[in-house]
Amino acid sequence: MYRIGVDVGGTFTDFLLYDDSGASSVFKTPSTPADPSIGVLNGFGKMAEKAGVSLEEFIAGVELIVHGTTVTTNAALTGNGVKTGLITTLGFRDILEMRRGFRESAYDNKMTPPKPLVPRDLRLGVEGRVTFDGAVATPLDEAGLLDAIAVLKREKVEAVAVCFMHSYANPEHEQAAKKLIERELPELFLTVSSELLPQARLYERVSTSVLNSYVGPILRNYLGYLATALDNIGFSGVLLIMQSNGGVATPEATSKTPAMTLLSGPAGGPAAGIAFTAVQGYEQCITVDMGGTSFDAALVQNREPLLRSDGWINRQRLALPMLDIHTIGAGGGSIGWIDEGGLLHMGPQSAGAVPGAACYGKGGKLPTCTDANLVLGYLNPGYFLGGDMGLDFEAARTAIEEHVAKPLGLSVEEAAAGMFHLMNVNMAAGLREISISRGIDPREYPLVVAGGAGPIHGGMIALEMEIPVVLVPRESSIFCASGMLRSDLKHSYVRTYHVLGSRADQGVMLKSFAELEQEGRRILKTEKVEDEKRLRMEHAVDMRYLGQHNEITVGFQLDEFEKGGIEFLRERLHQEHDRLYGYALRGSDTELEIINLRLVAVGITEKPQLQVTELSGADATASLKGTRPVYIPSVKFFRDITVYDGETLAYGNRGEGPAIIEQITTTTFVPPEYDFIVDAAGTFSLYLRSSADEYLRRVLPS
């Protein structure tokens, strides 16, 4: 039986195919943006061809497809969602557009606010008011509501969101509105804010609900096409969709909460990082994925990726649980330029896939990071994509000379070295954001490097941050697809319970948790998870010290809370506050506030095993490809260094830096401060020479 991870990207759709033995193979097809399911089917065709069977025969043997899709992301980024209406409390219809009056750039007066996803004439206020404690201050004006529905009907909206003040505390009015809308406009995609996100903060809730409706029909249609296409070829296995929280869910569950897929693009990365570092006994890591235009960094602790409860997409607020992934505009396509004071910058502008780097010869004239990597010898002009795509060395030189070297009075090589160095400094700053900024010392974490361009820079970023170990998985170019197959089913729930700690009622809280758990079990049952051993319930409470403005999400085991009660929560708040902010208010009579109860219902999936190979000797001479001149940053000089064929390196093989490891899809640069060894799963593992003894014990059998 096969399992397939599918990651639909902007340019390519990546596939990772696993069979029962754990053997994996990689496929790539061009993406088909108009209907991405075509590209997906093409990929299955390629797999069938390689297996020498018909598409129908092949698909009959597939038990699981995990699918990452960016159709919602693209709709939100390009403003191509559906025409959406909003019904909200009278007097509050502008909260969506106001965004709390935030402007991202302090001095840029040409910056204008983003266009709201629902224009003002489709944001309709209706009388009726609930207070913060759930009491009804003014009854819902049903006649007014019908008028509003009539407007939406007349305007032919395709989706609608309903979001009233304090509906998390009392959803009565939203439920009444839901009934009427379903009666009057049954075909509409409807989001009810208290069902999607029963949590205080009106701006967060209204923005998230509107996003959900805005991309809802698009995802529903896409999943419809895909299901039909799969049906037609006789697929009878399970299809799961990647979510922004790092979990997966069925198409049915996903169709109701399409906003959960908005930031799911890089969400497979950490799960892959966990698998590849676990081979060496790690429970934590930092993963970085460097593509053509962006660099994603994430952090894993205790085999769990860090989560956040909200974020932004295209300057719109999205308050759903998502992996805490920090993205910066740095990639192979980042363009180098000189400002008026004569200082060099890299990016954030990118040459993208078209026109691309100057060396691609597709019309790009500006010097990019990829051009610098070529000039410095990190890339082999004759072996890019295994030789499928030639690189124009002279075009790269000319672009760098004209736009960077001449203005700075440097040689082309010096200029390229500067570009390379600056890229590494910028990406290291991205790493600081997800580690030091969160009170975490990155030197205690192995760095897992993925993406086409990542492994050239990974070693140098690690050196900059003093990180001793860098892992480059063999499948690093399709890292996310591999993580998707290792993700659990996850459903996140939140319910506001706003109360002072001293007045909190443990019974009420336990009852709420039980209700949330029941709902989680129900959904997981529809996803065929019933075995207790495959179920896990994760409980948490959002709390803060009275008077603070931002709450902290504090996780715990339910039985600890049952035993310890509110006092236990108080102690957990102190612990977390101390960890995050460096102090706690223990011992004083500081009052705490409880804001939200959270539950994540997890259905544990069976993960494909990484194929482990037999230990081969330390000797890597069989994989030597020769030498070539490569720029060595520490001596600011080119040296002829060893090039290894990454395709043939085996478990236990070792080599000294500086070195180059070439694969068809990736090139790894081992800086002179590092040596490398191949681990049992075939991962190229770079380690600081000074920590060799300790590290090798971790990789080699005892």
Binding site: D94, Y107, D121, T131, G341
Partner: protein
């Protein structure tokens, strides 16, 4: 030069310095308790060289950004050789380089191999600094001591040892214990700044590091000079008015500025600006200087240049001593940072003749209230500054409408309105409505940003409001530029349960407000830019459909007639303004004033 300069290393050092100031900021955000610091982020972190010149900074709110070098230069002079590793200095004095007295600096001298090489500093708005009124905003103050404890540079720590006597004296004169914790947070941030700067000294060696710093200053200076050189030489005049000193109803005070551009140098001379007022409507020199620089940054093609001493070299600022923008001891000045609205207006007014494509029309000037009362849900007093209600519109500029609901210019859109639900959860206040205000924006080819209207109700008895700001009196609204119209005025009024209405002045305290009383506040829109008749008819039509513009205003201000049935614009014939309106208090007339002042 002894050390050959590696141009790449210059950029790398600049990025690292920036990262250090950001890390100092994170310490502050994590550990500070007062929402003014942790939520509103009203502080700046920075590194300075041994002379007190800026190396790099991170300003969450621009108004605090450029005042610190003045204070540190004073400290260098004041302490001389009497500075040691492990010293921590506290300072808030407006007369030796401070911002308004609520902004408290913590400064740490940094030594490398026993030589003073620099300073780290965090300048933040503290929840209280002593004085007559909690929080410091005292419209009755006529001297600094009625608004705060005056702290000239004094060491809280010397050589790493806490000076208990000084510590107890300072914090014995400040109301809230959290201020002590927040000062400790700032000390933590400064220690991080010291540690990280020393790492750079060690890594590159002092001579090499400092040579590259000098080069960084030069490169930034060059960048700034390139911007200024592109502006035509000349002397350009601008003016603006501040309304009401808090003592003499109807009083107005004028700000005058002459901007002189000569080659790559620029100077700002405030000769002719009104003398200092008797109350707190005075901007300390530090606040005034910062307002000048942040406004100039907004006039640049690329405002994102590195922030260091090289950037400010081509800039000189002269402000007469004893004027409202450089008051002499012992003037009160807690209103000082808020005067950035009018300082910016005056400068944009002048710069409109230089870079008309980059200045904005005036922004809505701040008008704010602090609501004080008792929260029986948690049995504690509350203070709520209505950030939501005070954020009016920004000024329009060529190519972009003013930013809606952005708030005062000195915050550049970094100060956030409360979420409506959190607002009601936190304090016993009930929001009736909070929306964009129709017709609030100044008309223009690029209109001003929209203002907002808020109506709320007090749920308990015994409330007090303290109002401060501007923009209420006729003429004090955000004017238009280059043919654009004015935004509407700010206003605030209480309606008591018996129907009695009390309309507030812009500096006033009202006490004993009972439950059931409603407060209605309008933050006006920004000024419009350019002739409204040139605004595309589609935009006018669309905004009428959206309801942010009335049909009447479309006709009277934009010359666009909207059919009330189809809601579409009449596209036949020339657009013109109705005759009756063109000579009244129509929007265009406000521009004439600006133009006159500019001559």
């Amino acid at each position: 030069m002894m050390h050959s300069i590696d141009p790449i290393l210059v950029t790398v050092i600049q990025r690292r310095l920036k990262a250090i100031t950001e890390e100092m900021g994170l310490v502050m955000l994590r550990t500070a308790r007062s929402p003014i610091l942790s939520e509103a982020r009203d502080f700046v972190t920075g590194l300075y060289n041994a002379k007190g010149e800026l190396l790099e900074q991170t300003a969450y709110i621009p108004i605090l950004a450029f005042a610190v070098p003045l204070s540190i230069k004073y400290m260098v002079e004041y302490f001389g050789d009497d500075l040691y590793p492990g010293d921590v200095i506290i300072h808030n004095d407006p007369f030796t380089g401070g911002n308004q007295p609520t902004d408290v600096k913590i400064v740490r001298p940094i030594f490398h191999q026993e030589q003073l090489v620099g300073f780290s500093c965090i300048n933040g708005h503290q929840a209280d600094v002593g004085g007559a009124v909690a929080g410091g905003y005292n419209p009755r103050a006529t001297e600094i001591w009625q608004e705060s404890l005056r702290i000239t540079p004094v060491k809280l720590y010397e050589k790493g040892v806490k000076r208990r006597d000084v510590w107890d004296l300072v914090f014995g004169n400040i109301r809230f214990p959290i201020v002590m914790e927040d000062i400790q947070a700032a000390m933590g941030g400064c220690a991080v700044g010291e540690r990280e700067l020393l790492k750079l000294y060690k890594r590159y060696g002092q001579p090499r590091f400092e040579a590259h710093l000098r080069h960084l200053y030069d490169a930034t200076e060059q960048q700034m000079r390139a911007e200024i050189s592109a502006m035509p030489d000349g002397v350009y005049h601008g003016a603006s008015t501040i309304y009401y000193d808090g003592f003499n109803l109807g009083s107005t005070m004028e700000i005058k500025v002459a901007v002189a551009i000569s080659g790559s140098d620029i100077s700002f001379d405030f000769a002719g600006t009104a003398p200092q007022t008797m109350g707190f409507v005075n901007a300390p020199l530090g606040s005034s200087m910062t307002s000048v620089i942040l406004t100039l940054l907004m006039c640049l093609k690329n405002p994102e240049l590195p922030q260091n001493a090289g950037m400010t070299r081509p800039i000189s600022v002269q402000i007469p001593e004893g004027s409202m923008l450089n008051p002499v001891y012992p003037a009160a000045s807690t209103f000082g940072n808020h005067m950035s609205d009018q300082i910016s207006s005056a400068i944009f007014n002048a710069m409109a003749q230089v870079v008309p494509e980059r200045v904005t029309a005036p922004w809505n000037p701040l008008f704010a209230i602090a609501a004080v009362g008792y929260n029986d849900r948690i049995q504690r007093p509350f203070v709520d500054i209505l950030f939501n209600a005070l954020k009016g519109g920004g000024g329009g500029t060529r190519g972009a409408d003013g930013y809606d609901h952005i708030g005062l210019i000195g915050c550049g859109g970094g100060l956030l309105a409360q979420d409506p639900e959190m607002f009601e959860m936190k304090d016993p206040l009930f929001l009736h409505s909070f929306e964009y205000k129709q017709d609030s924006a100044g008309a223009g080819e690029w209109r001003g940003g929209l203002g907002v209207e808020l109506e709320m109700e007090f749920l308990n008895d015994g409330n007090l409001i303290s109002a401060f700001g501007d923009g209420i009196d006729p003429g004090s609204e955000a004017g238009g530029l280059l043919g654009g119209g004015s935004g509407i005025n700010n206003s605030g009024a209480l309606t008591y349960a018996d129907g009695r209405v009390h309309t507030c002045t812009n500096k006033e305290m009202v006490v004993n407000i009972p439950r059931g009383t409603r407060w209605r506040q309008v933050a006006g829109g920004g000024g419009g830019y350019g002739d409204p008749l040139r605004r595309p008819i589609d935009r006018v039509e669309q905004e009428v459909r959206y309801g942010v513009l009335s049909k009447e205003a479309a006709r009277d201000k934009y010359g666009v007639t909207i059919d009330p049935l189809t809601m579409t614009a009449d596209r036949s014939g020339e657009r013109s303004l109705p005759v009756a309106r063109s000579c009244g208090e129509a929007p265009v007339s406000a521009t004439d004033g600006a133009a006159a002042a500019a001559v």
